[in-house]
Symmetry: D2
Subunit: 354 residues, 4 copies
């Protein structure tokens, strides 16, 4: 089968013919339909995740995968069968600890991951998933290729919004910082899953415009192009009529964004940092936080239930993923990574195999 | 009546005769029985809270007060009557906002506070409380003087432990950092209100020894004298048998303690900062936090329900406050503040009026 | 001022001229704009609530009120001022107990209620509200008359949906039983505030048709006209594709509906009974409930925060209340009550005063 | 190996020699150390669970098991190894549904269960557990034989108390109805895991006396011998000083107990029914429930995390299980079942194999 293989950090992926794997035991072979190119792929490719996960060469990258079950191992129960459409959950958990027992596979060590470490991923015609429990069956998706974006960007945003939803009331504001591939899901899901008022902000006008087309915003929700206002904090406060924010979901997550927006939180406000945008943020503003009982939360991917729930929302067209994908061929994978590294990629590049 | 009055930041409080106030409207006059000397009093006295609350001169300080109802205003309902023993909740809320509607008076602005700003407090024979809703009736307390410590140190620790309890399971560990006047309540309450295993740590041997006398620790709970071990993180991990921590409640809350202990958190772990120990902590370790979905929470005093619940626990002798108080006379208030400022005070100095 | 006055159970309300009240202390005089006729009014009128609340004669009924502040007492803070548009929260709490401290005024005894017992209500040109804390300011409502329906039917449905939302996941089903004046809010709010799939059922075709016009249902949501199917349980299971339900919100709440639908619950399912449809339901099916860990919850009106949140949603047009109201004159109040008693009323009859 | 085998409902179990099973795949062979005799065993033996689980003959009963790992299948990870002490979780889940994904194996259909249906249990020298995920490793238990009682009675009570703990505040009361084998765990755990005040009631004086010896009650907690008071509801209200109850945990769960105690609940109170004491309870008192927003919850066994948490508490001697077990020999199993059926058994009869 054809695959894009990483042989060394920083080198272009090589498009090669490698043996098609076979399913056995609990494993399932998935024919890849869509395989998203994620910002973490850039970090992985450059070797910047080297200390977080065990280096693995050669590696078929690609951890955001939709596909069709091709073959099942002999220990796979009969409700998983060839022909079934699935999303692949990439954070494999090799233990049965207290996190795994609650389906929080992403929190049980993260040593292994499909397309990230120890296991091959989805930049290939087929992907061997080591256990059927990492498959989320989907039905009635209008675009299974584009749906790959749900399996990482989507579910990460879903988890962030769920954490915000635990805190906010319906007359509160949520601020979404960064309207890129993950943030655009966050914007939609915050509108869909809470009654709160939503402000979205990005430094790029094209992202803001695209977001206003894709998200089903309602009266009271506002998008702000930070590049066009002299003082973005003032712009946010004008949008809310002076009401402070109960939650910020920061999909950029660097010192500058945290320093800018944490000041806008109301008492009991929560600042949610998504992703690995920066190793360190600003100093913890203890006085400011204590005097308002603020909290800082973080999000790492999602649970298996998070992905199942998101898939169900997507099957009812409640989350627009189909207008977010820019479909590319496997041969163009290196170009896609470079575009993403330069910050020039559209919402989500997805490798397809038709 | 006799009162200790602050006329200017940094000057000794002056013991003066001032007019005894009268209750009217919704207000209640309380005869002060115990009035604790809190670390915030040192900050207030030195003018270090000047930017947080409106400076008020002359001010009778003292915001940790137990007493007996002396006189009630004409709008006070009949279930509050002279002779009733009470704890006084100091964080007066002058609005009826969404925080006040949930009894979270401490979060509705903190402009006003009994003994802190705009309203006189308990370093006096009588204290006028502006609304009966700030009184928590108590019954059957074995030592009403010492019980003053519940009204600030106690309730702050209570809220911190409640926030930890939301996160931990019974096979998890909670670390209590700092076993002083507030931390000793935290240690007891964590043992009382959760099934988790508790580690306590302090840099002073005498605090550790006193804590082991006062707290009802159980098999699996461990106290550590940080001054006697070469590496306190290793000492904690040895105490837990290598198990990481689900919660840290940091009653010191400075850069050094946060940097030391945040590394010991397990996935989904929470770091709870109590009090105003420092304006800033270390830089937010984003990668470390995201990869384990850690969170940072903070605690500001407590809600009116927190204080009522704590008072009920105390009335059943489930929380030892009586061995914590060192009782002093109003004339010794300045000496007490200086001792506290030098870090030489026992658990809680409480002004009494017998 | 003109008012409809109840002088004895079962007698027609008499339209009379009575003295216009004056605001003093914490009370606020509200000029009534809309005053909804609620099913509880029928019970109250007939004396069927006599054991639940203290009989009060003469009584101006009407507990679902929107209006404009006319005059304020001298203890009312300045942010409540004449001309302000408000919804009135009717469940007055005369104590300061643990429920009141959390804004759950409806749970602190229910002895007193505006338009229900001890206090006059909104079937009059003016209504005196005894404390400003029972007013929810509103802004930008497109129809303040119709908005009266939010103040009882709306907020009751809001609380029911919030209780369901605590239990359901996004790939679960919620069943709404009864699409009348309260149920139509429940249907809308379940769609708005959760990601779950919604089934609505009613025995009247016209209600089902109206609901399909008013509610913004989405792919996967289904309305069922129970009068047109031979077996309503089978019809529900066909609508869900055989998936059992995580929550039923029963706005009818009688033996027959509970027996019919409790069987459709999945493990951890919750059956939520709203209102006083019947004094007793069927026998508690212990085995069935235990084997699936089912629960039964109930809803009584809402908290003050519930009403504030709902009002904010309404101000953003996220809840359609304007197409629900049938506006009537005060002179037609008896006819409206009779129509409601016969089950022939449209969604919500609202008395207006233009 | 020797085993007590059920060949037909109602017939005495036959003590037989049957082949010792072998571990393979994910299964683990456990040498049984303790095997408790549970009230469900009486129901199962008499065929009264026949409609709930598939009849299985011959069946080795016994679903409350402690033991030592004897042999592991080739797919069992290395952290489960021979010699390890374990508790066995009996509610096997043969699917990977949304309940299994959260470790709620008891809620995914209950078709299969060790010692209950399809799989042999612990009234035998060895028990084959089909998947290592049903084992909870334990360390440092002072009495592994008696600890069997944790694996069903204990964990069921644990889950009930956890459900109560979600609802109560520290100044609330919890009532424990029934102080038998499960209730005595409930009493201890309610005292251990909440700050609430605890009332316990039983109709047998010996149970009340034993409970007062075993449970570590505190000031404010009260035990009531219902056989010695003329009016048990009045006795409860006298014990609380007239304060109504926030939670009732009913380990008897029949019409009479529910009717008696549901009236004592305060607003937002919860009535928790544990076990299969009766197929139906009294009629749902809708008006009473709605006017106080009461709820009814039920408990079925526990999750795998519940059992792990309880085991950790037990290893720290926080729950007394060692004084609860009456140890018997396998040959006495029929006598034990009969004694239990007649209501004459002590807390927990446990079959041992020394």
């Amino acid at each position: 089968m054809r695959a894009a293989v990483l042989h060394n950090y920083g080198e272009p992926l090589r498009i090669e013919d490698i043996p098609k794997p076979r399913a056995s035991g609990t494993s399932v072979l998935v024919r890849v339909v869509g395989s998203g190119v994620c910002h973490s792929d850039v970090h992985l490719w450059r070797g910047e995740l080297g200390t977080l996960v065990p280096p693995t060469f050669p590696l078929v990258m690609g951890h955001e995968v939709s596909g069709v079950v091709e073959e099942v191992g002999e220990l796979v129960p009969p409700d998983i069968e060839p022909g079934m459409e699935v999303l692949v959950y990439w954070a494999y958990c090799e233990r049965d600890d207290k996190y795994a027992q609650r389906g929080l596979y992403q929190l049980c060590g993260l040593r292994a991951g499909g397309g990230i470490a120890l296991y091959n991923g989805g930049f290939a015609e087929y992907m061997l998933v080591p256990h059927y429990r990492y498959l989320v069956p989907v039905k009635g998706l209008r675009d299974l290729e584009a749906a790959a974006a749900l399996a990482d960007a989507g579910v990460t945003a879903y988890r962030a919004v769920r954490k915000a939803a635990e805190e906010v009331e319906d007359d509160d504001y949520i601020l979404i910082v960064g309207l890129g591939g993950t943030g655009i899901f966050g914007l939609q899901l915050a509108r869909l899953l809470t009654g709160a008022k939503i402000i979205g902000v990005d430094v790029r006008r094209d992202k803001v415009e695209a977001a206003s087309r894709i998200a089903r915003l309602r009266k009271g929700d506002v998008l702000i192009d930070a590049s066009s206002v002299p003082d973005v904090r003032r712009a946010v406060m004008e949008a809310t009529g002076g009401q402070t924010l109960r939650a910020v979901i920061d999909f950029v997550g660097v010192e500058r964004t945290i320093e800018t927006y944490i000041d806008l939180l109301s008492p009991l406000g929560v600042y949610i940092i998504v992703g690995l945008g920066s190793e360190y943020g600003p100093r913890i503003p203890i006085h400011k936080m204590v005097l308002n009982e603020l909290s800082i939360k973080t999000v790492l991917y999602g649970s298996i239930r998070d992905l199942a729930n998101l898939a169900d929302l997507a099957s009812r067209d409640l989350v627009n993923y189909w207008d977010i994908a820019a479909k590319i061929r496997l041969d163009d994978i290196n170009e896609a990574l470079e575009k993403l590294a330069r910050g020039e990629a559209p919402y989500r590049q997805v490798v397809i195999f038709r």
